[in-house]
Amino acid sequence: MLSQILYALPFLAEGFAVTLWVSLLVVVLSLIAGVLLGVGLVYGPAPLRWAVRIFSDTIRGIPILVLMFFVYYGLPAVGLHLQSFWAAVLALTLFKMAQVVEYVRGAVASIPKGQSEAAMAIGLTFRQRLTSVIFPQAFRRFLPPWINGVTDAVKGSALVSLLGITDLMQAVNQVIGRTYEAMPLYILGALIYFAVNYALSYASRRLERRFAFIRD
């Protein structure tokens, strides 16, 4: 049994690399797009705010799996053919993006109005108020839920196996298919996911402490 698992390790490692790659793409892309849309949701003109609101509410109301199948199997109907890998990344990114939008909105909205007013009163322009006063404070509120979201993204990436992509989950399943050693292999897979997320949680606690300021 042990030798079989050892024999399968390189294959599992390849799957793990795919899991990390999907997670990284989803986390980075959703962060960039989500922050832009989130700021648009708070400060943008009305049509943009409505558009972001509708996008976010719609996406968050759909199961990720439905979204993923829709992108992969549904979009070709309107001429958009994506490889399974990119369809999965797009679907997961859209889903995560909608969450990031809400984290940003919540973080910015939690900064008291007096902060903007004090910044205005010393003559800071809108852009300066955002970059020097609002965002540095909002960042601290944004960080904890966002890091939680990152671990969700790593776990959620296991869904890409359902589009036939050989990520860690799929690799584990395939090795089980050859060896019939379900129990030890699922435990091994779970341990790998756990190790990644534990490392992330640890890093996030460090980060939060690093950026904390005492509040009254």
Binding site: A119, I122, T125, F126, Q128
Partner: protein, 264 residues
Amino acid sequence: MATSSNNSPALLEIAEVSKSFGPVAVLRSVSLQVAKGEVVTIIGPSGSGKTTLLRCVNFLESYDSGSIRIDGKEVGYRDAGTRQRRSERDLAAMRAETGMVFQSFNLFPHLTAAGNIMLGLTKVRGKGSAEARAIAEHWLARVGLAHKADSLPAELSGGQQQRVGIARAVAMEPKILLLDEITSALDPELVGEVLAVVKSLAEDGMTMVMVTHEMAFARDASSRIVFMADGGVSAVGPPKEVLAAETTNERLRTFLARFRASHF
């Protein structure tokens, strides 16, 4: 009725300013002139429009009609006639000429005491950080907090925070300083240290308009007192005149009587 000292032109000219929040008129054709070096205190019952008027002066609030000028320059609009709002950049530049101190301090919690003061100096006044730091330290010393330059707001008492708030405002060398109930959120034993700072600024000739409930301080430190009621200026004059118990102004007498009953 005494007006501002007539030998100097008004630094702040508020002319017939009106403002409504929906159906509620909060300012009814308010006019007030403040000369350079004057300390004008606005008193009145809550809801009388004191704070709103103050916030119109640096355009934290817009107003529906009338004109507010500082040093002859219209504050929020390109001119009072067209009422075309100034650009964001223009507004920021105008606001840099007025300092404001808030009831709830509103210090930036992520910056140290010195950092709070330096932000406007570096971003708005374009000073280098060494020079800004020196100015910050000068003003912190002036408000008695030289040793707290590197403390975060959360590490300071309310009175200390408010003194940093004052230092942050005056370090910008504003033409006029607006003080909005700056001691109302303080424990009684901390009020004195903040008022002492205000008093020393007044002695230095800083032009100030303040809203306060500290009647004794208003009486001692003000050049003139403005009594507002129902969104309008109901009485204005030197402290002795306005705070006189035998005033014929009915609303003012009621206000003062109620005030004395609850504060003395």
